[in-house]
């Protein structure tokens, strides 16, 4: 068994190349891919998420850790698929129609993946209909919607309406976030959850998915 603690530490420090090399070594040594994920990569990202929430680290540290986690995941993903490892849940994530900002959305995605949630990232400026299609296609239990602008935040409501129209609203939990979004706005548009930051989003998402099982 490889030194998962070292992988964790390198994720926390944001050492992307070293994380990739360590994951490769672990796979070459015959380690269980799921174990590499849950014992090595995930604890690192979760620690960074927790520290971010508590103002111990800030956006730059989260971004470099996310990049490191991502470099490890790229190598690990084929092995996870081959091993048939089941994720904690499946989420469709995007920035809504008319909005092309993706830093917040990408942070949330990395935090979700850090908790073992499989993410289908539709990117930015996404039509409600594409979200509906993706929920169907991937049998997602969670939809995460981001918006940076006051002019685009109502796109989150459009997605919720489209999910209702498609008869999928009761099958998924909808989480909303972004700079102009508030709890009051989330309530107004009928979202299930609003969280202030990416780390809290991942925490709430994991809890919601585990409760739904």
């Amino acid at each position: 068994m490889s030194n998962y603690q070292e992988i964790t530490e390198k994720v926390i420090k944001g050492r992307a190349k070293e994380v990739a090399a360590l994951v490769e070594q672990a796979l070459a040594a015959g380690d269980d891919p799921l174990e590499i994920l849950t014992e090595g990569l995930m604890p690192g990202m979760n620690k960074v998420g927790e520290d971010f929430k508590n103002n111990v680290v800030f956006v730059p540290e989260v971004l470099i850790a996310a990049r490191a986690m991502n470099s490890g995941m790229k190598i690990l993903k084929p092995a996870l698929t081959k091993a048939g490892a089941e994720p904690v849940g499946r989420a469709v994530i995007c920035t809504v129609k008319g909005d092309m900002h993706d830093i917040g959305k990408n942070l949330v995605k990395m935090m979700l993946e850090g908790r073992g949630i499989e993410c289908y990232d539709l990117g930015t400026d996404v039509d409600p209909e594409r979200v509906v299609e993706a929920v169907r296609e991937h049998d997602a239990q969670l939809v995460c919607l981001s918006a940076l602008l006051t002019t685009t935040m109502y796109g989150q409501k459009d997605v919720i309406d489209a999910l209702k129209e498609a008869g999928l609203r009761d099958k998924v939990k909808v989480m909303v976030g972004g700079a102009p979004v508030t709890q009051a706005f989330a309530d107004e548009i009928g979202a299930d959850y609003y969280t202030l930051d990416a780390a809290s989003c991942a925490e709430v998402a994991e809890k919601a998915l585990k409760e739904a099982v």
Partner: protein, 375 residues
Amino acid sequence: MTGRERTYNILHFKKADRMPAVHFGYWPELLEEWVAQGHLRREDVDGWYDGGPKDEALNKILGWDFDWQHMFSGNNGLLPPFETKVVKTFKDGSRAVQNGNGIIERIQPGVTSIPAEYDYLLKDREAFETLFAPKMAVDIEKRVNFDWFRRFNEDVYDKTDVPLGLHLGSVMGSVRDMTSVIGMSYLMYDEDETLFKDVVDTWANMQYEVAKAVLETGAKFDFAHFWEDICFNGGPLLSPALFEELCADHYKKRTDLCREHGIDIVSLDCDGVVEKLLPVWVENGVNVMFPIEVGTWGDQFEKARKKYGEKVLGVGGMDKTVLRLDKAAVDREIEKMRRLTSLGGFIPCPDHRLMPGTKFELVQYYCEEIKKIEC
């Protein structure tokens, strides 16, 4: 009293005849909306900019006294800026455009608010030294129109009765503008340890020299102003300790310079939750927080006042979104402003540029009502 006198008095805890109606400009989409709705003519809005002739004319129509961003400075940007050019066109009609800061932004046709960062040029020391450092050179004769500033008092200052600001530029915000949030983060950790500090220092020193040269012409200003935008709704974009280490001396140097030239009001524009960076600013000579975004930290002005006393002044804090609603919502906001203005050293101003959906007649109503606040 003039707008200049009112502002001076309020920000020095003295009596004024009434509250000035101050604003922070408009998103271009809103001006277009008002033209489409018939409130304004095309010629009223084309060529609008903060403090410009069109802005002053619009102030009269709407009832504002002045735009806080009525400011002047030498050229304290990248000189020359990078060429603005389209580097890619996407299927949906959006384009990747390289801007003057060397950032490549993805822009949708017809949308001007907050573009999405796509890529950036300042990735390593070589890019800094070959592409950016030459554009940050002081080269003062090219940056300051000395003749114009020597005539400034006679030609500009004495011909207006509203407060005029000296724009001091930025310390960290502009560096973020040259690297993007992601690029700034990577640059802090990926390169040699001194690169990020070198970028900040080179930039900040040039901006100091420009401000110094302008002030030495004898041009008069009522206040000075920094722009930062280095926070978001979760707090600072980088650690407060690092921010202090990199920026504190630069703030001190520029605010000391202002005070040496008789300017004791120094405002700073930073959106988002600024609380954790406030000590760095307050302890280094910045005393006016602007625009005090209500959605994120509006209620914190009173907390800051309690903590720092009269060292913290405010311009902003008015929830601009009520101007999309109705008179009752505006009245409620005016009541909130009444409470904040009673603290002294505070002038209400919309907490950012007025956005699409803002009702023309509610802005006029707000301007009438805010002027009724005693101070």
